[in-house]
């Protein structure tokens, strides 16, 4: 269940403690990053595990939230400096007047899965089926794009709003719903349980997950954040070159896999951080503005901040 033993380094409290220590030694800036458990988190967790933050002269305080709303509330309240989010999320922040800018990409996939008893084997069979998603999020965005890529309309499936991800998985497992679109680790769990993978965001070339910081922090702590991305890249290199078994417990903890998954986890290659491609972001803006989530005149340039280079 909860973070035990060695993984304690990634916990909010211990990071705080170490930041207090750090500030008494030298002036190490603290970066507070809000996130929800998912595979995007792995490199950040590794930064803490491998003490890369010390190496690059900052302290990373990872704050784990159980819901996006809580994370957003904390960002609003200035309790965190940056978030792991996605295109749609940033569009909404901007629309709400929050100066949040994309500073890098993160790696996470979103899998379209069919329940094992539905008999659905490929995308052509999903018309009219029910699908559990969250609304006005990248999940819905990814779904719409997957459908479009496969010559279908968003209205071709029956969208059911289920805000909590574990609930979506449970509905699928118990045949209460035909399809789901799930991030890790839930996708792996569903596949483990016999679900059928139909498509995924990455398959159609969609990488909507990003890391973003508020403008104020970017101004004040630009250096530290640049260092963060250097640490991130080092962590990614470490991941891509090291056998998973060496850091599996960190992964299990960060992503929130059940402990039984030990030894069964597979990771794709992670990408080093960079700015997202312009057309991808603009596509997301267009989708979000059509949904009324933001204004259509939101520009790519205002949404990103090239802090890393």
């Amino acid at each position: 269940a909860c973070s035990s033993g060695g993984a304690g380094t990634s916990s909010g409290q211990s990071a705080q403690a170490s930041s207090a220590k750090a500030s008494s030694e030298g002036e190490k800036p603290v970066i507070r990053l809000g996130m929800m458990s998912s595979s995007d988190v792995i490199p950040f967790a590794l930064i803490n595990r491998n003490k890369l933050d010390e190496k690059y002269g900052f302290t990373l305080d990872l704050q784990v939230f159980t819901s996006a709303k809580d994370r957003d509330a904390a960002l609003q309240a200035g309790e965190i400096d940056g978030v792991l989010t996605d295109y749609v999320g940033v569009c909404m922040y901007r629309n709400a007047g929050l100066d949040v800018r994309i500073t890098g990409i993160t790696d996470g996939d979103y899998l379209l899965l069919a329940g094992k008893n539905t008999g659905i084997k490929n995308l052509s069979q999903i018309k009219g089926k029910s699908i559990a998603i969250s609304q006005n999020t990248l999940i819905e965005y990814a779904l719409d794009r997957i459908l479009e890529k496969n010559q279908m309309q968003p209205a071709d499936v029956k969208k059911e709003v289920v805000s909590r991800i574990p609930d979506r998985l449970e509905l699928l497992r118990n045949n209460k719903i035909d399809l789901v679109l799930l991030p890790e680790p839930f996708a792996t769990l569903a596949l483990d349980d016999g679900a059928v993978e139909l498509s995924s965001a990455n398959t159609i070339g969609l990488y909507p997950a990003v890391s973003a910081f508020t403008g104020k922090v970017l101004e004040k702590e630009g250096r530290a954040i640049r260092n963060l991305y250097q640490a991130y890249n080092e962590a990614v290199d470490y991941m891509n070159s090291t056998d998973l078994s060496e850091y599996e417990s960190t992964v299990i903890d960060a992503v929130g896999y059940p402990k039984e998954m030990n030894g069964k986890i597979k990771l794709k290659k992670f990408r080093r951080s960079k700015l997202p491609p312009k057309e991808d972001v603009e596509d997301a803006i267009q989708w979000a503005s059509a949904k009324g989530l933001c204004k259509s005149d939101l520009s790519y340039d205002s949404m990103i901040d090239d802090v890393a280079s």
């Binding site: 709303k69 922040y93 709400a96 006005n136 059911e160 805000s163 609930d167």
Partner: protein, 252 residues
């Protein structure tokens, strides 16, 4: 008629007061999460565009069903526990064990057992409220003056008659208090249960606005829920005035 007008005035006064506090908070903290109430009202047109009426009806139906079920189950169970030592011996630990279970954690179970639609929503409202009703009915029964039974028992009253003529009226004030509290709770839970399997309901409306970081919409929704809540609570007060005429003097 006159009483209704008085209530309306109370309502307006409260409304103004709340808005005043809100406005003050807005200017005091000056943060986006507390928007200017005037801006919010300027946007109130969207409520009609969003067909708020349907949302309200859905929520009211869910609350009504959940509350009615809770009363139907909670009052008899509470009475049973209040009167029968044996029933109390069995039910007491059961109630005390299950009361603190976070019902919201049982959401997956509820969804699987009663479906994703109103079934599980009402079930969760019910599960949360019913314990409050049971506890307050049970405690209320313990407060009844024993003389009340002397007259009824000696006249050969059956159990049902004692419940009807003594227990129910005696606990009525407490029961209404409990309904008031439960209503407040139910309105707050809306916000949780309407987060899945529906596109309607005040809870959905607010949640949706929130997740879109549309604070104006969110506050509009909260306002609407406040007004509904006020109306429901004031309704219970009216009912209480009607049903407890005998203690009216004390209520003045």
């Amino acid at each position: 008629m006159k009483r209704l007008r008085k209530r309306c005035r109370t309502f307006l006064e409260g409304f103004l007061l709340i808005n005043l506090i809100w406005l003050t908070a807005h200017f005091l903290f000056h943060i986006t999460v507390i928007p200017n109430p005037i801006d919010v009202y300027r946007n109130s047109g969207t409520l009609i565009a969003d067909r708020i009426g349907i949302h309200i009806l859905y929520s009211l139906w869910r609350i009504a069903a959940g509350l009615a079920l809770s009363l139907l189950v909670g009052v008899p169970v509470g009475m049973l526990m209040g009167y029968s030592v044996r029933a109390n011996r069995i039910l007491y630990p059961l109630i005390y064990f299950s009361y603190p279970i976070p019902k919201t954690a049982l959401l997956p179970v509820a969804m699987l057992l009663w479906g994703m639609r109103d079934g599980s929503k009402i079930a969760i409202i019910f599960l949360i409220i019913v314990f409050q009703v049971i506890v307050s009915v049970r405690d209320g029964i313990g407060q009844i003056d024993p003389v009340m039974y002397l007259v009824t028992v000696s006249a050969g009253a059956t159990r049902a008659q004692i419940v009807r003529h003594v227990a129910l009226p005696a606990i009525l004030p407490e029961l209404l208090t409990s309904v008031r509290i439960s209503l407040g709770t139910a309105l707050s839970i809306l916000f949780f249960v309407e987060g899945y399997g529906t596109k309607y309901g005040m809870g959905y409306y607010i949640l949706d606005a929130w997740s879109r970081i549309d604070y104006t919409g969110m506050y509009l929704g909260i306002l609407v829920i406040s007004v509904i809540g006020f109306a429901l609570l004031a309704g219970v007060d009216l009912l209480s005035d009607r049903l407890c005429v005998w203690s009216r003097k004390q209520q003045e």
